[in-house]
C-alpha cells in the first residue's frame, strides 16, 4: 500500500467535508417542506464503511450523532452482503439508530467503488406530516408511539435505484399531506445521490486507497485533538440533578440526574438514577441520549466546525434501559427534545462551576415547540403554524448572556418574520420584544422574548410544550437564576397560563402570549461594572431602582443626564467597587 502524502490527504478531507456541505445545501434548496427550507431541521453526513462519522453538517444540534447510529443500524440489519449499489434505506425507528421521533426520517445510501462499499452517505430530516393522531404528527399528550405516526423500521425505499412502490403507496395512504410528504422523500434521497457522486469522484481523482487512508487520518487527528483538550480539563467526578417539568399528561416532575467522570482519555456521562420512562411524549431513547451527549461534549472539547468519529471516541454514555433517557417501545417520544435538552443541561450544570470559560450559565432550554392550526375561514384549507421559540441564554465569565436565541437543541434555526407569519396564517403578531427578566450577576443573563399571536380566524387549536416552567435557569459562581418559560392565553378578559397545551381551542380575537425565560447570571451582581449597569439603565433594560437594589449602583440625574453617584454607593453593598473607569 503506497503512502499518501499529507497534503493530498488534507485535500481529500476538505473534499469529503465539502461533499457533506453540498448535500446539506442541495437538500435545503430542493425541499418543499417549510421545516427543512425555513428552519433547516435536517442533518447530512458521510461515514466510512463501518458507520464511523467522517463529516456531518447540521441545521439543528439535536441531530448530532444520528448519522452514525442510523448507518450502523442499517449495517446491523442487512449485513454488507445484502446492500447493493442504488439501495436507499429509510428509518425513523427511535429505539434503534434513528433516535429522535417518528417525524424525523433518516435515509442511508451505501457508496460503492470498484464493487466495494467505501462509505455511506446519510441524512435525516423532519417531515411535516407522517400520520398519527394529530395534524403535524407530533403531539403533547400521546401515551404510546402508535399514536405518533407511521413507522419505517429500517426498510429499503429504493432497491438498486428503483423506488419500492409498496413503500410509496403505504406512505401515501397514511399521511395527511401525501404530496408534500412524498416530495420530502424524493428531495431527501436526491441529496444522498449528490454525496454518492462526490465520493466516487474523489475515488476516481485520488484512488480508493488514498481516500481510505485520508479518512483514517482524519479520525486519528480528531481523536488526538479530543485527548489534548481532555488533558486541559479538571479531572474527577461531577454531579447534577434536576426535573423535567412540562406537566404533559399531568406528570409534574420527572427527576433526572447525571454523573460526569473526566479522565485523561475518557469523558463518561452516567445517567443511572434518573426516573423511569413516562407515559408522556417527553422521553428520548438511548440514541437520542447519545446525540445529546455529543451536543454538550462539543462546546467542552471543540466548539467550532465539523468533527469526525475520532473526536467522540473518548465519550461514553451509561444508562440502564427504560429510563426517561433510554425509553423502550412503546414509550411515546414525540417531544423527545425535552429529555434530550435536559441531558445537556445536567452535564452543563455539573461542570459549569469548574470550567465556566467553556460553559455558560443555564438558558431557557426548552424548544417551546408551538403549533397553532385550524381551517382557514377564507380558503377552507388547513393551516399549521409550527415553530420553535427563542429565549435567553446564560452569562459567561466575560460576557452577558445572549438575548433571543434558539435553544441548544436547535441551531441554524430561523424564527419566522412577523410579516411572513401574517401573510401565511390568519394571525397578527402584535408584539415581538424582550422579556426583561433574567439572572443578575457580574455578567447578567440574556433576555427571553415575548411573542403575541392574535387570532383572526373564527377558531383554531393550540398545541405547545415547555419545560423550565417551575424550575428556573441556574446561575454560576454567584450569578442569580433566570426566569421561566410560560404560555398565556387571553380570551376576552380572562387569562389562562400553562406550560403545556394539547389541542386547546381558541376563538377569534384570542391572544396567545409566549414568554420565554431569561438566562442565568454569572458572578456576584455587586461586582458588575457600574458602567455596564448605567448602560443597562440607559437602554431601559433595568430601572434606576433595580440598579440600586440588585447591583448596588446609585444612578442619578444631573443636568438632564443620568450619571453614577460614586459617593452614595449603597451601604448594603460594601463590596461594590467603584473604580475610576466609571468616569
Amino acid at each position: 500500500m503506497s503512502k499518501v502524502d499529507i497534503f493530498t490527504m488534507e485535500n481529500i478531507s476538505e473534499g469529503l467535508i465539502a461533499a457533506s456541505d453540498e448535500m446539506f445545501y442541495s437538500w435545503g434548496r430542493t425541499s418543499q417542506s417549510p421545516i427543512i427550507y425555513e428552519v433547516l431541521d435536517c442533518a447530512v453526513g458521510l461515514t466510512d464503511a463501518k458507520g464511523n462519522l467522517i463529516a456531518q453538517a447540521n441545521g439543528v444540534a439535536g441531530f448530532l450523532g444520528t448519522i452514525t447510529y442510523s448507518v450502523r443500524s442499517v449495517i446491523d440489519k442487512f449485513g454488507y452482503e445484502n446492500l447493493k449499489p442504488g439501495d436507499i434505506i429509510i428509518t425513523n425507528d427511535p429505539y434503534n439508530g434513528s433516535g429522535t421521533h417518528l417525524c424525523d426520517i433518516s435515509a442511508v445510501i451505501p457508496i460503492f467503488y470498484e464493487g466495494e462499499i467505501v462509505a455511506f452517505a446519510a441524512n435525516k430530516g423532519h417531515w411535516n406530516e407522517i400520520g398519527g393522531k394529530s395534524l403535524g404528527s407530533w403531539s403533547t399528550n400521546s401515551t404510546e408511539i402508535y399514536q405518533e405516526g407511521l413507522q419505517f423500521p429500517i426498510i429499503k425505499a429504493y432497491e438498486q435505484g428503483k423506488l419500492n412502490e409498496a413503500v410509496r403507496d403505504i406512505i401515501e395512504a397514511n399521511v395527511r399531506t401525501p404530496e408534500m410528504t412524498l416530495g420530502d422523500l424524493y428531495a431527501q434521497t436526491a441529496s444522498l445521490r449528490v454525496g454518492e457522486k462526490r465520493v466516487i469522484e474523489l475515488c476516481e481523482r485520488y484512488g480508493k486507497e488514498a481516500i481510505l487512508q485520508s479518512i483514517k487520518k482524519m479520525m486519528e487527528n480528531d481523536e488526538k485533538l479530543a485527548k489534548q483538550e481532555l488533558k486541559k480539563l479538571p479531572h474527577g467526578v461531577f454531579e447534577a440533578d434536576g426535573y423535567i417539568d412540562t406537566e404533559a399528561n399531568g406528570i409534574e416532575d420527572v427527576y433526572v440526574r447525571a454523573k460526569v467522570t473526566i479522565t485523561d482519555d475518557e469523558f463518561i456521562i452516567d445517567l443511572t438514577g434518573s426516573d423511569p420512562q413516562v407515559p408522556a411524549p417527553i422521553n428520548c431513547t438511548r440514541y437520542g441520549a447519545l446525540s445529546a451527549a455529543r451536543i454538550i461534549y462539543r462546546p467542552i472539547i471543540s466548539p467550532h466546525g465539523v468533527g469526525s468519529e475520532g473526536l467522540y471516541k473518548p465519550l461514553k454514555l451509561i444508562v440502564p434501559d427504560g429510563t426517561v433517557f433510554s425509553a423502550t417501545r412503546p414509550a411515546p417520544v414525540s417531544c423527545n427534545w425535552e429529555a434530550l435538552s435536559h441531558l445537556t443541561d445536567l452535564v452543563a450544570k455539573a461542570l459549569a462551576p469548574h470550567i465556566p470559560e467553556r460553559i455558560t450559565a443555564a438558558h431557557f432550554l426548552s424548544i417551546v415547540g408551538t403549533i397553532l392550526g385550524g381551517i382557514d375561514d377564507k380558503t377552507r384549507q388547513p393551516f399549521v403554524l409550527c415553530e420553535p421559540q427563542a429565549g435567553g441564554w446564560g452569562a459567561g465569565v466575560n460576557k452577558d448572556g445572549e438575548s433571543g436565541l434558539v435553544a441548544i437543541g436547535d441551531g441554524e434555526t430561523f424564527v419566522m418574520p412577523a410579516e411572513v407569519a401574517e401573510t401565511r396564517y390568519p394571525i397578527i403578531v402584535e408584539q415581538y420584544s424582550f422579556n426583561l427578566s433574567s439572572g443578575a450577576g457580574k455578567f447578567r443573563g440574556g433576555y427571553g422574548l415575548i411573542r403575541d399571536y392574535r387570532l383572526l380566524n373564527s377558531t383554531a387549536e393550540l398545541t405547545s410544550i415547555a419545560s423550565r416552567y417551575r424550575y428556573f435557569p441556574w446561575g454560576v459562581n454567584g450569578g442569580k437564576e433566570g426566569s421561566n418559560n410560560k404560555v398565556q392565553v387571553f380570551s376576552k378578559d380572562k387569562m389562562f397560563e400553562k406550560a403545556t397545551f394539547s389541542n386547546y381551542p381558541l376563538k377569534k380575537g384570542d391572544l396567545v402570549r409566549y414568554i420565554t425565560g431569561g438566562g442565568g447570571g454569572y458572578g456576584d451582581p455587586l461586582e458588575r461594572d457600574p458602567i455596564m449597569v448605567l448602560d443597562d439603565v440607559l437602554n431601559e433594560y433595568i430601572t434606576i431602582e433595580e440598579a440600586k437594589k440588585i447591583y448596588g449602583v446609585i444612578i442619578e440625574e444631573s443636568n438632564g443626564k443620568l450619571i453614577i453617584n460614586k459617593d452614595k454607593a449603597n451601604e448594603t453593598s460594601k463590596k461594590l467597587k467603584v473604580n475610576d473607569s466609571a468616569n
Binding site: 430542493t30 488526538k224 455558560t360 445572549e402 436565541l405
Partner: protein, 684 residues
Amino acid sequence: MSYRIAIDIGGTFTDYVAMNEDTGELIVTKSSSTPSNFADGVMDCVEKGNIPLEEANYVVHGSTIVINALTERKGAKTALITTKGFRDALEIGRANRTDLYNLYYAKPKPFVPRKYRFEVEERLNKDGDVLIPLNTKQVKEIAKKCKDEEIEAIAVCLLHSYANPEHEEKVRDILEKELPDVEISISSELIKEWREYERTNTTVCNAFVKPVARKYLDTLKSRMKEKGLMIEPYCMLSNGGAATFEMTKINPINVIESGPVGGVIGANEIGKMINERNIITFDIGGTTAKTSLIYNNEVKITTDYHLEKTPIFAGYPIKAPITDIIEIGAGGGSIAWIDSVGVLKVGPQSAGAEPGPACYNRGGTEPTLTDANYIAGRIDLARFLGDKYDIDIKKSYEAVKKIADYYKISVEEAARGIIRIANNNMMNALKLVSIRKGYDPRDFAMVAMGGNGGIHSPFLGRELKVKKIVVPRNPGVFSAWGMLMTDLRQDYIRTKIIGINHQNIDTANSIYSEMIEEANAMYLAHGFAEKDLYIVKSADIRYKGQEHTVRTLVPSRELKNDEDLQIIRENFEKLHEQYYTFKLPDTPIEFVNFNITAFCKIKKAEIKPVEILGKPEEAIRCRKIVDFDEDGKIEVAVYEREKLGTDSKINGPAIIEEKTSVTVLYPDQKAFVDEYGNLIIEEA
C-alpha cells in the same frame, strides 16, 4: 482629446485607468490607499495619471468608504423608529445560532442600541390596509428626543411598509420638518421587500453610513472640480452598474461591495469581445481570491448578502442588489500554518502589505503562498519588486523551513504542499459557484485577474476543465478597467404575493408600471434623457407551497394574455430544474417579488483590437527551472508578455512575465495572444 477615467480604491492600492476615447490607449497607474482620508489617494492617482480632468468625459469611482464605515463602526449616531411592539426586533434578529455547538456564541450586536430605538403607534396588515392610524404626535416627541440626544441619522422601518409606504412617508415628512439637519432613511425608499428584520437592518445600515458617504463624495467632487472636472462623476454600485454621486448619496448602501465588481463587469466585456457567453471570473489578490459566474453574458445579482458573515457568525443581512461573488481568504499573502493536530492550513490570515511575505524582507517571518511560489521558481520577485523592497529568497526559505521541519521534508516539498493546499481552497470556491450550482465548467471560459490570477488559474482551470483561460492585459488593474464598461443601473423590488394566473395580469402590469414610473422619474430628476433608459423585468417566482423563489425573466412588454404567462412559467421551470434538479408541472406558481432593473445607456469605452509587434522567440528573457508539482521540475523559457506580438503562440510549459503579474503555463497547455492582446490558454 477626451478620456474616460476609472479610479478604484482597494485595501492596499488605489488603481487608476484612463482610456483615450479616440485611440483606445490606456494610461495605468497605482497609488497607496490612504485610509485616513481616501480622497488623498484618489487625488494622488489623478496627479500621477497626468490627464487633466478638464479632458475627462466620464469619471467612475469604486470606493470602500461604505464597507469601511460599517466594519469599523465609524458611522453616524443613528436612531431607529419601528412599529409599536417591535422595538427589539432589530436586536432579536432571526434568533439563529450559527455556531451551533458554541455556548459562548455572541450574536450580531445591532448598529442602533436600544436607547435609540423608538416605537410609534401605527399598524398595517399584510395587504397594506391601515389597522391603526399613525400617531403623529408620538413622531414629534421622538423627533424631540433625537434632537436632545444629538442623533445624526434616523432609520424608519414600519411593518408591511412594502405594501403601503404611506406611514413611513408621513414619518419622514415630519422628521424632515422637525430635524432639517438629520439624515433620514425610510425602508420603502430603499427596498419594498418583506421580512422586517432584514429590511430594518438594511435601512439602519444605510442611515448609519449616509452622513459619512455624503461628506466623502462632496469633498471628493469639489477637489476634482478644483482640478478642472467639468462633468458629474459616477460611483460604481454593487449591482454592477453606476450612479451619479448625487444619486449615490441617497442610498449609499448600494455601493457596499462595489470594489470587486469592476472585475466581473470587465470579464463579461472580454467575454463579449471574444464570443464567450459563459464565464468564471477569478481574481486573486494579496489577501483573498474572488470568483463569480456569468451565464449568457448576464452578471448574477443576489440580495442575500450578509455583512461580516462567517461559518460561525450570522452577520448582518443587507438587502441591496449585489453582484454574486464568493470570496475566500486565499491570496499571495496568505499565511501557511500547522493546526493543533498537525494539519497544514493556508489562510485566511494574511501577511498583507505590512509586513508582507517573508521574502519582502520587512520583518515578516511567516511562510506565505508568495514565498512558496517564489521557492518553486514560479515568480521572480527580485525582478518585480526589487526596486521597492530588498527582496531576499533566503527569507522565504527560512520561513517555509518551519513547515518543512515539522513534517521532516525538504523546503521545496513544503513549498509544494503550501501551493497544493492553497490551490485546493481556491478550487473549492470555484466549484461552489459552478458545479455545485448545476453548471458544467466545460461550457465556461475562465478570466484570470489580480496580481496572482495568472499564477494559479492555469492549473485550476485545467483541473476544473474549463474550455479556456483568458489572462487580459493589465490583469493587476483589471477591476478599474472593468468599471469603464458599465451603464447606469438601478434595481427595484416589490413584494406582492399573487398567483400567476389570468385574473392577476392587470395587477402585475400595474405593479410593473408603477415601478417603471418611479425609475424613470428618478433618472429624469437627475438629468438623464428618457430615450436612453431601458428596463428589464423579472420576478421572484415559486411553486405554491414552496418558500424558495427563483428569479425569472419576465417579457419586457406589458403582459397581455395566457401565452405571456406560459412564457413566464417556462422560464421559471427551466431555471428551477437547473438549480434544484426537478420541476412540478402540475403545481401552480406565484409571484413573490416583482423586480425591475432600470438601465440608462451612457457612452461606453470602445474596445479596439490592438496590433502588438514581436515574435515569441524574441520575447524570451531567460530559462529557468520551475516546480510544476505533479508534473515535475522542468526547465522552461521565461517570456516577457509585453514583447509577445499579436498571434504569438507558446507551448507549455513556460513562464510569461509582465509588469504586475506572472502566468504559469503547464506542460499540456498552449497560449496565444489574440487581437485584443489577451493571453488565451487552452489544452494543447
